[in-house]
């Protein structure tokens, strides 16, 4: 069969292995005991905002057509004293009070007393004691202006509660997954398998770095990163068993829409041709939009609450919580059953008397349509943009949730912003008059889009935009499992990396810049103008590096130097070393500052060393910035996560 395995050069594969071993010195020792090629499984970990999933496949005896990743049932505490196996591990961490649980009620098959309560039990206990519940740790990882290694979660906890950092919470989820794997596969330690961890395509370099660091903290130094929408597409490719070439054609632009529990992630993947083979290139990713299924359930709960309050009934916080749960179930029933027009909602009393004090109301199809379909997926024009009012109050106290709930408006903005994403690909030709990038195919991911009504509406809106510009309608790529696709795709990617199947070309999802003061005479009262110096171009591939020998900085030994740091999802043409004098807010997003500290080793403190910058994309999938001395070629790492003390 004419697969694209020739795309992946064998040198590259061996290079991977070399890099992995060099990065993790302990690997050398392990290698001595168990040969490196003892790797038997490709393990994909979907480290989601609300759920984690682990999928794996045996690498020993597979061929392209028979690759079938399995989803591991993860043993976890569901309530004090009971352990159940579930396919998903809720990404929640509960900081229990010492008097809250009895001695032996929190033991797991692998630990008599785990350090942290994660999974179903955390979500259950936290639903009644929110001040001790850590949730959405992942969203905090890419929240600008927050030190992710500082104990800041739960944000609303009283001082007495010993808080944890978003980084530590992420580590705890990974540790649970690792321990669960270890207990189920004692013969195949996870640190010797090919591990792929997925991250949102919109994760900035610092958040990616933190994810890799968390993996390293639990001994998974060999883990590599993969963007979630790419993983979803890999899963679709894998599920089609080689048939995908019939469903995708040269010139296609696949729009991946991933609406999960807490976030919405958008990516564009172009299908091109090279030497007669189909080639996939991820050409654009969207912003990190904190908007997802949980917002929908909450919106429904508040609609019902308003209805009840109109009838003169006051609701307590726990009742709203219970209402949110029943709204989630009711919504699914209304979406899946077209004959039902209203679902009774019942909030039982908390006391032992069930009948007295039970609150009854109902959720109608009309309400679901109004709140979810019209509220989250309104029929908007492609020229509409998300509404963003001025932010008030303390932003760092909470997550920067999307202000406009209309996903279609976010989509319109994304497609318009990425109009030029395929300019450099000769196989894809956008009409002259196009006002946005025309996708030709759509792949859905995320539990929210299991609802047929929502999926249909999203397609309708997109196709109405396309029709308005005389473009053919986009078709829906079907067959993916919306809940588990990311983990399955990640496991498949481990297999693709062995040189089998088709690989999506990606590289960096943005171009990166540092801010430098321009050389101009100081004007009193004016802050000096800033220039943006491009240090990493768009689409820089894994395992490559770029140096800027012509841009020299004098750094003082022992003193930290900070740079302003920018990313652009649209400026594809900028080469390394390009300097921008002017840019619009839309073009460049400012990220957290980066910091270089030249160590004093072998040098005199206070000495000025001329350095230039060097950017590299590691095989793992993270961006690495270094300062290189012009004199003796000494190298210093530039840190991303310097969010503390900003």
């Amino acid at each position: 069969m004419s697969d694209l395995s020739d795309q992946i050069q064998p040198e590259k594969v061996t290079e991977n292995a070399a890099v992995m071993e060099a990065e993790n010195p302990t690997d050398q020792r392990i290698t001595a005991e168990y040969p490196r090629n003892g790797t038997r499984f490709s393990v994909g970990i979907d480290l989601g905002t609300t759920h984690c999933v682990l999928s794996y496949a045996d690498l020993d005896n597979i061929d392209d057509e028979a690759f079938s990743p399995q989803v591991m049932a993860i043993p976890q505490l569901t309530s004090p004293g009971s352990v159940e196996e579930k396919q998903q591990l809720p990404s929640f961490l509960y900081l229990a009070h010492e008097a809250e649980l009895t001695e032996d009620s929190t033991s797991l098959p692998w630990a008599a007393k785990p350090d942290y309560l994660v999974g179903e039990i955390a979500r259950n206990l936290g639903s009644k004691t929110p001040i001790r519940l850590v949730s959405s740790a992942k969203s905090w990882l890419c929240h600008a202006g927050v030190d992710c290694k500082a104990p800041i979660l739960p944000a609303e906890a009283p001082d007495e509660v010993k808080r944890v950092s978003p980084f530590l919470a992420t580590t705890a989820y990974l540790q649970h997954l690792r321990d669960a794997w270890q207990s189920l596969h004692p013969q195949a330690p996870l640190d010797q398998q090919d591990v792929v961890i997925t991250v949102p395509a919109s994760f900035d370099p610092a958040a990616r770095e933190l994810t890799v660091e968390a993996a390293r903290a639990v001994g998974l130094g060999q883990a590599i990163l993969l963007e979630e929408p790419q993983a979803a597409l890999y899963s679709w490719i894998e599920k089609s068993h080689g048939d995908w070439r019939k469903h995708a054609e040269v010139g296609d632009i696949i729009l991946v829409i991933d609406i999960g529990g807490g976030t919405t992630d958008l990516s564009l993947i172009a299908v091109t041709e090279k030497d007669g083979n189909l080639e996939l290139t991820r050409v654009a990713v969207g912003d990190h939009i904190l908007l997802g299924g949980d917002n929908m359930d909450l919106a429904l709960a508040y609609t019902v609450k308003a209805k009840l309050e109109n009838d003169g009934k006051r609701l307590e916080p726990w009742q709203i919580q219970a209402l949110t749960h029943s709204c989630r179930d009711a919504k699914e029933k209304i979406f899946n059953n077209f004959e039902v027009d209203n679902i009774p909602l019942v909030v039982a009393s908390r006391g032992s008397s069930l009948i007295a004090g039970t609150l009854r109301t109902e959720l109608t199809r009309e309400e679901v349509n109004r709140v979810l379909v019209e509220g989250f997926l309104p029929q908007v024009a492609v020229g509409d943009r998300p509404v963003s009012g001025p932010r008030t109050g303390l932003r760092t106290a909470g997550l920067p949730y999307a202000q406009d709930a209309a996903i279609t408006r976010h989509l319109a903005a994304f497609l318009a912003k990425q109009q030029g994403a395929t300019d450099e690909l000769k196989d894809i030709n956008l009409p002259e008059h196009a006002s946005f990038l025309h996708p030709t195919a759509v792949l859905f991911n995320g539990g929210v889009l299991k609802a047929g009504v929502l999926a249909e509406r999203l397609m309708d809106v997109l196709n109405s935009w396309l029709r308005a510009e005389q473009a053919p309608e986009a078709r829906l790529l079907t067959g993916a499992d919306l809940d588990l696709a990311v983990a399955r795709g990640a496991a498949y990617y481990g297999y693709v990396r062995k040189g089998k199947g088709v690989r999506i070309k990606g590289g960096t999802a943005a171009s990166y810049y540092v801010g430098i003061e321009s050389a101009m005479p100081a004007v009193p009262g004016m802050t000096p103008e800033i220039q943006a110096l491009c240090i990493a171009p768009f689409g820089m591939e894994e395992g490559t590096q770029q140096e800027l020998p012509d841009d020299e900085f004098g750094l003082v030994i022992g003193e930290p130097v900070r740079f302003r740091f920018f990313a652009s999802h649209t400026r594809r043409e900028d080469k390394v070393g390009a300097r921008l004098d002017y840019w619009t807010d839309e073009e460049l997003d400012e990220l957290d500052e980066i910091e270089i500290t030249l160590s004093e080793e072998g040098r005199r403190p206070g000495e000025v060393v001329p350095v230039h910058l060097c950017a590299a994309v590691t095989e793992v999938g993270t961006l690495e910035l270094q300062a290189v001395s012009q004199k003796d070629h000494g190298r210093w790492k530039i840190e991303f996560d310097v969010r503390a003390g900003n």
């Binding site: 043993p75 159940e84 009620s105 033991s107 179930d329 009774p344 019942v346 069930l354 009948i355 039970t358």
Partner: protein
């Protein structure tokens, strides 16, 4: 040279030590012989007619034993399966666990323990939604249920010879021999999979719902 002459008419007038020893040995040997022969005879008789011997040697202890044995037999008649011992070990935990699950998901105990006579059907109906939905969730999550017979209820089915009488119960006019033909009244249920939570060592399953105190 000494010669020994045998004179049978001669009677010894004195018994020396040797003669006493000789006589003693003879008496001992003949006693042993009698005992051995007696024991062989007794054991033979015992083997053949145990009961006869027991009757011939009626001691009070065996009678008590017989009474005990009868009591045991009566117990067995009441619970014929050999399993109860095993079930006694396993049942309470699993049953308590199921109660706990039903209470957690469906407020099952709350509902059963409530006096519903005081409430109207409408109020009870509202509560039943909670119970039904929760039970449905708990049962589906922890058990896989399948029908025993997949035919339509009310349709005629034929049971071949040697059908599983535990899975299919015959009722009504049971006469003749298999194959039996009859109407499927109830399709039956069987559990094909159980996924009960595992319990930690310190878990007290008897607490099916902990008391809740809000601070």
């Amino acid at each position: 040279m000494n010669t020994y002459a045998i004179d049978l008419s001669l009677k010894p007038t004195t018994f020396d030590l040797w003669h006493v020893c000789l006589a003693g040995t003879v008496a001992l040997l003949s006693l042993i012989l009698i005992v051995l022969l007696l024991s062989v005879v007794i054991s033979r008789i015992r083997c053949k007619k145990k009961s006869t011997i027991q009757q011939t040697a009626p001691t009070p202890e065996p009678v008590v034993k017989i009474v005990e044995k009868i009591v045991e037999v009566e117990k067995l008649v009441h619970a014929p399966a050999p399993e109860p011992v095993v079930l006694k070990e396993a049942t309470p935990d699993a049953a308590l666990q199921l109660l706990g699950l039903l209470q957690k998901e469906a407020r099952f105990i709350d509902f059963i323990k409530e006096d519903i006579a005081a409430f109207s059907d409408a109020d009870i109906g509202v509560a039943v939604r909670v119970v039904h939905e929760g039970c449905n969730k708990a049962i589906n999550e922890h058990f896989t249920l399948a029908a025993v017979r997949n035919e339509q209820e009310g349709s005629k089915i034929t049971l071949p010879q040697g059908f599983d009488a535990a899975a299919v119960r015959l009722t009504g006019n049971i006469v003749g021999a298999a194959p039996f033909t009859g109407t499927l009244v109830h399709k039956g249920w069987q559990v094909t999979g159980i996924r009960l939570p595992k319990l930690t060592a310190g878990h007290n399953a008897a607490i099916v719902a902990p008391a809740e105190v809000e601070l």
